[in-house]
Symmetry: C2
Subunit: 340 residues, 2 copies
C-alpha cells in the first residue's frame, strides 16, 4: 500500500535534505559518545549488554545525542561534559523505548524484533531501569547542577506524558490540544532537554538556553507528527515497523484526531469500533486510509509538522551563521522531509 504524502512544492527546489551536515559537525565527538555508550552498557550480568546492545546497535539515528553535541558546539562549549550528557540522553531514550515496547506489546522496533520478544518483558523493564540509572550516573559525573535539573525533570515529564497517553489511549474524543500536550511530554521534552544542556554547560546566557530549548521542543513535536503520518503512509523500511501499527494498537494520533473531527457520524462510529473497542476486521486499515485521504488528515498532519519545524528554525535566529547553526537548521528540514 503506497500512499504518497503531499509535500511543500517549494521545498523541492532545495537539494534533498540530509543529516550529512550535522554528522560531519559532530563526527569526532560522536565517536567518543559511541565508545562511552558501549562501555556503560557493560556489566558482569551478561544479559544487560546483550539486551542493551540489541537495541542500541540496531541503527537508530542517535538524533538526540547528536543534538546535544551540536548545541554545545553552537554555543562555543570547550570542555568534555557534553560527551557524557549526550550519552545520558541516548540512554534515557533507550530506556524509554524498552519500557514503551512492554507498555505497547510491540513486536518490532527499528526493523528488528523488540527486545521483549527475545528476552521477555522482565528483561526489558529491568535493563531499562539499569540504563536510566547509568544515565543519571553520567550526568552526575559531569556535575553541572542545572543540567542535572533539566534532564531529571525531563525524565519525570516523559513518564508523565506516557501515563497521560495511556489514560487517553483509545479515546477518539481526544482534542488536538490534548494530543499536543501528550507528545510534548513523551517525545518533545527529551529533544528540548537534549538541546538545552548544550548552552547550559557552555555557561551561556538564559536567552540562548531558552532558544535552544525552544528549537528542540518544536523539532521534537515536528518529528513526532511526521512519525504519526508515516505510520499510515511510510514504507516498512523507513519505519522499522509495519504500516498501520498505530491503528492496530488503537493509538489516537493527530491524523485520527483530524479525521474523526472532520468526519460524519458513520465515520466516527467506524473509528470508535476500530480504535476504542479494538474490533478490527479485514479491510478496515484500507478503509481508514481512505478516510484519512478524504479529509486530508495526513497532508494536514505534515502541514502542522512543517509549522513546528518553522518555529524550531526561527528559535535559532539570534545565533550567528556558521556550520553548527546551518547543520541544526538542516536537521529540521530532514525531519519534516521524511514524510516525502
Amino acid at each position: 500500500m503506497a500512499v504518497v504524502l503531499p509535500f511543500d512544492p517549494a521545498a523541492e527546489i532545495d537539494a534533498e535534505p540530509s543529516l550529512e551536515g550535522i554528522l560531519t559537525l559532530v563526527r569526532a565527538d560522536m565517536e567518543r559518545v559511541n565508545a562511552l555508550i558501549l562501555s556503560r552498557t557493560g556489566s558482569e550480568v551478561t544479559m544487560i549488554p546483550e539486551v542493551a546492545q540489541h537495541l542500541i546497535s540496531s541503527g537508530g539515528k542517535r538524533l538526540r545525542p547528536i543534538l546535544t553535541l551540536a548545541t554545545a558546539d553552537l554555543t562555543g562549549y570547550a570542555g568534555d561534559g557534553h560527551i557524557k550528557l549526550a550519552a545520558s540522553v541516548e540512554f534515557m531514550h533507550t530506556a524509554t523505548l524498552l519500557h514503551d515496547d512492554v507498555v505497547d506489546d510491540s513486536e518490532m522496533r527499528r526493523g528488528k524484533l523488540a527486545a521483549r520478544m527475545l528476552w521477555g518483558n522482565e528483561a526489558s523493564v529491568l535493563v531499562g531501569d539499569f540504563l536510566l540509572g547509568q544515565a543519571f550516573r553520567m550526568m552526575i559525573e559531569v556535575g553541572n547542577m542545572r543540567a542535572l535539573d533539566i534532564l531529571s525533570t525531563a525524565a519525570v515529564v516523559i513518564a508523565e506524558g506516557e501515563v497521560a497517553q495511556l489514560a487517553a489511549a483509545k479515546n477518539t474524543a481526544t482534542s488536538e490540544d490534548e494530543y499536543l500536550a501528550v507528545i510534548r511530554g513523551k517525545t518533545a521534552e527529551l529533544f528540548a532537554a537534549a538541546c538545552e544542556v548544550g548552552p547550559v554547560i557552555a555557561g551561556r546566557p538564559k536567552v540562548e538556553q531558552s532558544a535552544c530549548r525552544s528549537y528542540g521542543m518544536n523539532l521534537g513535536i515536528a518529528f513526532q507528527l511526521i512519525d504519526d503520518a508515516l505510520d499510515y503512509g511510510g514504507s516498512r523500511a523507513k519505519l522499522g515497523k509495519n504500516v498501520g501499527d498505530d491503528f492496530r494498537e488503537g493509538k489516537i494520533t493527530l491524523p485520527i484526531v483530524l479525521a474523526f473531527r472532520r468526519g460524519n457520524d458513520e465515520e466516527r462510529a467506524f473509528w470508535k469500533r476500530c480504535l476504542e473497542t479494538g474490533e478490527i476486521n479485514e479491510g478496515d486499515l484500507e478503509h481508514a486510509m481512505k478516510l484519512l485521504a478524504r479529509h486530508d488528515a495526513l497532508a494536514d498532519t505534515v502541514d502542522r509538522a512543517r509549522h513546528y519545524g518553522a518555529m524550531a528554525k526561527d528559535a535559532l535566529g539570534l545565533f550567528a551563521d556558521g556550520p553548527a547553526k546551518r547543520a541544526l537548521l538542516d536537521v529540521v528540514d530532514f525531519c519534516v522531509a521524511r514524510a516525502r
Copy 2:
C-alpha cells in the same frame, strides 16, 4: 500451615524487639517526609497519584527512609536535606516494587492487590519511571554530589541485581555465594545507600560513612533472608502475600539453596521439577516444607540472618551510645525477630 521458626533462646530474655525506639526518634522528621511523598506523587495526570498512593499508602513500614533520618540524626546532621533524601529513597523503593510486580507477575503486594492487577502492567512500569524521576529530582534539589553519586549508583546496582536474579531464576544450582550477591544488589544496596547518605550530608569523616553503609548493607541482607524464610513459614498477615509464593514462582532463595545441596538425588529431582520446570502439583508445597524442615533449611537461613544482623550491630561500634544508636540497634533485632 504453621511452621514455627527457631530463634535464639538468649533473645527471649529481652523484651519483644520493636520499632518503637526508632519511630519515636524520627517522628517529627517522618511527618515531613510523608507530606513530601504525598506532594511529589501529585500530577495532573490523575492515574499517577492513584497508582502511586495505592502502593505508598498500603502500610509499608517505610524502613528505608527511616534509616536515612536516623543515620542523619546519629551523625549530628542539622540541616533539611535528609527529608528529601529520605523521600527519594522511599520513591526508589516504590518504583522497584512496581517494576518487580510486573517482572514477577505478582497478584498481591502488602496484603492488597498489586497495582498492576488494578491499572495494568503499563501503568506500573510508567508510574515506576515517574517515581524514579521524582526521586532524582529531589536528590538533585538537595545538591550534595556525593549523596547523588551514592543513590544513583544504588539505582544501577539494584537494576543489575534484578537482572542477575532473572538470569539465575529457576536455576537450582545457584550457590549460596551467588545468591548472596543477588540479594546484596536487589535489597541490601538500597539499605546501604539509605544509611550512608546520612553521615555524608552531615559532612562526617569517611570512616563514619563506611560504618553506616556497612550497617545498612548487613541489615539489608538479614532483612531479605528473614523474608525468604517467612515465605515458607510466616502468616499471611505478616507477609502481605501468600505462603509459598516464592515456591510457586520458582524463586531460588537461601532455604532452597541449602535444602538442595543437603538433599539426596531424589530430593534434588523434586526441586528441579517444581522450580525449574514449574510443574507443581497438589501437595508439592507441603512436601517442600517437609524437606526444608528435614535439612534445617529455614532454621539455618534465620541463623545466617542473625550473623549479618550481628555484623550490622558491630558496624555501629565506633558511635557513642545515645538514642539514635540504640534505636538503630533495635531495628536489627526487630528485623531478625520477625521470623519468630
